[in-house]
Symmetry: C2
């Protein structure tokens, strides 16, 4: 956010009529075609059919599982079926974490089962389970401030209640309790870690999984999330004021290394095939659900947008590259591998962004581009405006989850913010299934992606991508 | 329903001023006290505290489990703590069914796990699970009509979608698909049975358990309910038109016989201690949830109503008997044992009804009483009217789940119908937890039970209870 004043300054220059030959613009013919793509997308169910196909034919696809391999095969076949010109994969290597079984229970004073789910990179418990007293903290700060003496050998529980928001901003704290909280507890000698699920549902007996900050199995401890009603129950039991003992029985852990792949489909550019507009989603999902909103929808939005452009009578000037990323869930492995591989090529990226925040309507656009491309962004925004997308010139564009890594290497990036009001009700749970996807809202996303991608591909000029170009501009947010 | 015209005729006689000495009436002083009890109950949180106590301190309490025994101890202690005069138990013996573990998966063509739950009295699957092709029916009638040849050796799936209603009437069909459907499938040689959960939720990956019609382990087959999204998924997979194979791995079954108990607390009548107003709920619950709405709330409503009456300066004329029934869930075992034991005493019951339809507001009252008590029922209705309870003189009173059995033996009975609009979203699932209970709505129930029980206890005359009195009058509905 440190560079925002500069961005505003640049926007101000443009608004006051200062322009130069280097300024990027979208030709009128491109705007016309983009408008047609936009309107066509609203009546096209390709993205919904792709989402249904992936979630039905593959279902859950935890990174490194058999289903993950099937998902890659599916993606290759789907790109081909949709008429993409070029389909290929790029390897991604990461630690292989497996979930085999998970059980939890209050042992004393009131014995009863607890609904929980192990977190990514959680250690397993010893044979026979881990039984220990629970010590409760209301927040991450309280845990940070705690004396290790009060924690050593105990199961730390953090009861932070994530708040609902359209932009989902409280996931910042919710996920920090999960990722950082687990590491802090382990560092202070905790035997295990529990949190109230980072989710905005209140009444579902379904826990939200997600990754921890553990990367080294030697420092990991058993870590799990309680469903919200189970967190309520544990807090009620704790409120009796007696020592509360919980048993965790988690059979999970890192079992080695795995090499998966990002799967990539391209609509090859007619004039500048080496210059790419990069869009995508991630192919992996957490295992309890079928990953419909996280992130079959994102993959489908990008695939369907590319397909619409591919169906035009003529290929666009630049390449539309759709990337179905590997293992986003356990730490942006696909996105980081991609950025590492393409860092030196950052200048070949025209503009990019990834869809990974569900299937709700896009309501806000922001961009991190060179000042001379701000006018082109405004042209794009004008085409998206009738879809209910408001352009916020005061925010940077992050590029989405995996592509944030490429943005950090210098790719000019948009943020296309979806309505996440209900996203965290289902996110990372068994409830992330196809019925949570509204076909109409999904189509609106495709309209946005198809229109912006086409205009970026046809622009006169670039958006400022270059190695290191946005290193300080909110990149990697 | 065959006797309804007679009931209407009797009501008509009363309305036209025909009365005789035998007519039952509620004295004005009793109406005054009942009105006070009613208004007091609305501001009393005793029932909520009882519900919280049972669901927190005991949690799930499947009939015959260790927790079931702890629940009985809890009930005895709670009655005493609430000041009941007499607390005792009556044994109830039933087959002991246990659920140990349950897993399901689509094996082909698209392998993936299914969220399901074994049904009461389901057989277990063989070691290694049961794998068979699925044959789908849309309704119970379609299954009834099916040629056994199409079913033999297969897993029958019935996809009936239960409809939401304030009075929950579609549970009639929903539960029939579960109880009768399983028996019909087994009778036609099915290897296993699956149904779309008998629930009105659409988006929860949580299955609704419940009993089957199996009683003899020799004729039982493995039977389970799919969550609604899993039923959607199975139907989507079936729609591809390829053979669909499912694997069921259910470790469950009847392991012997168990003797539990109904737990009974009494506020002893001052003038006629042997004459009883019978109210109650059932103490057991299904095991996935903590049985808050089914039926800690019912037990709590009755216990709290009795306690309010017990707190009056003077004991009521007749006894208020609160019964916490054993094992309602697997076939009204507590209610049937109670009715068998007390059949010859039916004449000593003044009036009775059980609360077992959640914790929503009571909105309707109906009664099965002798014609000469119809006026007293109208007097009661008038006191309940300000609570939003409408008296429907055209319906019989069933007495609720377990007490329907005592009504069938001749006990005059009310039906106090709760708002069940959302009941079947949570019913028989892991989601049946305390957060589903609204303290204000619960208190309204206590107001109804306290007021009616007190007026029934103080009535001049009886309501027509006698052995066999209501045998044809909708009893046991």
């Amino acid at each position: 956010m440190r560079r925002l004043p500069l961005v505003l300054f640049a926007a101000g220059l443009l608004a006051s009529g200062v322009a130069c030959a280097a300024n990027t613009t979208i030709p009128a013919t491109a705007i016309q075609t983009a408008t047609q793509l936009r309107d066509q997308a609203l009546h096209d169910d390709t993205a919904y059919r792709i989402t249904a196909s992936l979630t039905t034919e593959i279902g859950p696809r935890l990174a490194g599982s058999d289903a993950d391999q099937r998902a890659r095969d599916w993606a290759v076949a789907k790109f081909k079926e949709l008429g993409y010109d070029k389909v290929y994969t790029e390897p991604v290597t990461y630690p292989l974490w497996q979930r085999r079984s998970e059980h939890g229970a209050i042992v004393a004073p009131f014995p009863q089962p607890l609904v929980l789910t192990a977190l990514g990179y959680s250690a397993g418990t010893p044979q026979g389970g881990l039984t220990a007293q629970v010590v409760k903290f209301d927040s991450l700060d309280a845990l940070k401030a705690a004396d290790p003496v009060s924690i050593k050998g105990k199961i730390v529980y953090v009861g932070y209640r994530m708040q609902r928001a359209k932009d989902g901003h409280d996931y910042g704290m919710g996920s920090a309790v999960r990722t950082t909280g687990a590491v802090i507890a382990a560092g202070k000698g905790a035997a295990g870690y529990l949190l109230r699920s980072a989710g905005t549902d209140a009444h579902q007996r379904i826990a939200h999984t997600g990754v921890t900050g553990f990367r080294d199995p030697k420092t990991a401890i058993p870590a799990a999330a309680l469903s919200n009603p189970d967190a309520d129950q544990l807090e009620r039991v704790l409120a009796y004021g007696k020592p509360v003992t919980v048993k965790l029985d988690l059979d999970c852990g890192i079992v080695g290394e795995y090499t998966g792949a990002n799967v990539i489909g391209e609509i090859t550019g007619r004039k500048h095939p080496e210059q790419v507009v990069a869009i995508g989603g991630h192919l992996d999902s957490w295992d309890p659900g079928t990953g419909a909103i996280d992130d079959a929808a994102g993959v489908a939005i990008a695939m369907a947008a590319g397909k619409l452009i591919g169906d035009l009578p003529q290929r666009p000037d630049r390449t539309i590259r759709v990337i179905a990323f590997a293992n986003e869930e356990m730490g942006l492995w696909g996105g980081r591998a991609y950025a590492d591989k393409h860092a030196t090529d950052a200048g070949k990226f025209q503009l990019g962004t990834e869809s990974d925040f569900g299937a709700g309507r896009i309501w806000r656009m922001s961009a991190s581009v060179k000042p001379g491309a701000r006018g082109a962004i405004e042209q794009i925004a004008k085409v998206l405006e009738p879809l209910g997308v408001a352009y916020d010139a005061n925010r940077p564009g992050g590029g989405g989850s995996d592509l944030s890594q490429m943005h950090a290497k210098g790719m000019a990036a948009l943020s296309l913010t979806q309505d996440g009001t209900h996203y965290f009700d289902w996110h990372h749970t068994a409830n992330d299934t196809l019925d949570k996807v509204d076909p109409t809202e999904l189509a609106q996303n495709v309209a946005v992606y198809a229109a912006f991608s086409y205009m970026a591909a046809q622009a006169d000029g670039n958006f400022g991508s270059a190695p290191g170009a946005f290193a300080k501009d909110g990149a990697g947010e």
